[in-house]
Amino acid sequence: MLAAIGVGSLAEIFERQIPESVRLGRELDLPTGLGEQDVYEHLRSLAARNTSTEDELSFLGAGMYDHYVPALIDMLMERSEFLTPYTPYQPEISQGGLQVMFEYQTAICELTGLPVSNASVYEGPSAVAAAAYLAKLHNGARRIVASAGLHPHSLQTLRTNAHGFGMEVVEVPLREGVTDADAWAAAIDDNTSASIFAQPNFYGAIEDADALSAAAKASTWGPSPIGNGGSGARPPVGGAGPVGGANPVVIAQVDPITLGILRPPGECGVDVAVGEGQSLGNRLDFGGPSFGLFAAREEYLRRMPGRIAGETVDVDGRRGFVLTLQTREQHIRREKATSNICTSQALNALAGVVYLSWLGRRGIVELGELLLARTHYARERLAALAGVEKLHEQPVIREFALHLDADVAAVKRRCASQGVNPGVDVHALSGREDDRGVLLVAITERRTRAHIDRLADVLGAAIAAERGAAVAA
């Protein structure tokens, strides 16, 4: 090959292409290699420094949750046919993977009550940002109205992305734990491209999704034509044309585990539902990888990011599956693509659809009812402790926020010494002053009533000790 391109050696290629001034000119300064056994011992000692949810009684949440992952999932995910391939752009040899994607999309549509879904995106926060971009492509407007009830990571990601595509993010505060309805309605005008809220919200509260959607649609400006010439140009005022989605686009970040018991976003006036998929069959895994779900009304189909699996027939009339609507994607559309999604979280989405199949239609409802009951029990027990108040009185389903009359980090340290992690120190996560003293407690089906009672004992003692120490100091 070197001879064919007229080069004497491999080294010569680098010498000819890379300027001398940026070449290192020496060997890399790496330690000598270790044998396999020594590597194993070294990695084991590193891993032993972590405390996982198997090592302590954990009530951590805030976006990712310690649900039970059935053995069935590992067994299927580790099949090399699923584990090793990348993206299924060659349908002839990817029918199994494409069919799984199609079934995953179907499950997401059923859960969200929206007719179209993609084959998954990366995770929750970037899905929120992608939904805002869809709104911009749809109506060309520049303003995003976002509830402060969104996860702080979703808000940060939204702001970062919005800056890149020239949109402004306006945050609507919460009142009594849910999005302030008056402020929400006042913030939405005929320059608003998208209005976004979380259901349930970051502090665990269940929002009135119908009211938020209706208030958004009651704003001044009307339907967008679909297509719009691809230039994102504003439609003529009062112009007729094919009916598209009314503006602004209503986006909800949802928690898929709750969709068996909360009304589906599609039935609440939501246009685009996105969410973090980790709760469905994926472990915490130190924060990832996981997958994001993305579903929408049919009129937004051509603006959706990510891959989409479609059902078709082959030349012999047999059913088959392919990636469809690829002309939205960046390898064809380049800078006008609907996203820059390239790598694939399909394996995590596979875990998601296997989990949903395992749980079944009845199972996801029963799980929702169990979470509702246990979360309510936990909130009542903890709120009864001295020095603890509910942050709000809204109904909650799988997570709730408390205000502690003690330093949250110090309380957590005391609990850790008893093998209990009482929840997320919200101020440490969000950095917001209003979040000082707030503890976010997550309940999953792995946390039994006895576990919750133990939490109450340990947390109660830790707060009392901290308050006592504070007085003495």
């Binding site: 297509g227 010439g229 230039s231 003529p236 051509r302």
Partner: protein
Amino acid sequence: MAQDSYPADLLYHPEHDWARIDADDPALATLGITWYAQDALGEVVFFDPPPVGTVLAKDSPYAEVESVKAVSDVVAPLSGEIVAVNESLTDNPGTINEDPYGEGWLVKVRLSDPAERDVLLDAAAYRATLAA
């Protein structure tokens, strides 16, 4: 349409768009894409016209044509305001391939500056750009 053709009674834009000036009204034009454009795109699967009333600027894109393998901007050969769109293309986008100059018309426009037609190419000049 299997054989390439570029009718002599049309005006052409180098970005593969044509304009037919109405015989009775020189300020009214019908627009579409050329045989070359539909051939390069392949089978057209989707076209959604912009709404009546949309203002076109010469040389700027005003719509998209989507085929199995690509999405392409449609460039306005002349400036004006859309007065009619070809609604039949929503259900039968393939008409753009079969009859790009007849039933496959995209929009009708009331021209804001009819003199712009003077810089457009005739069929022979457009053919020459393809050969280059």
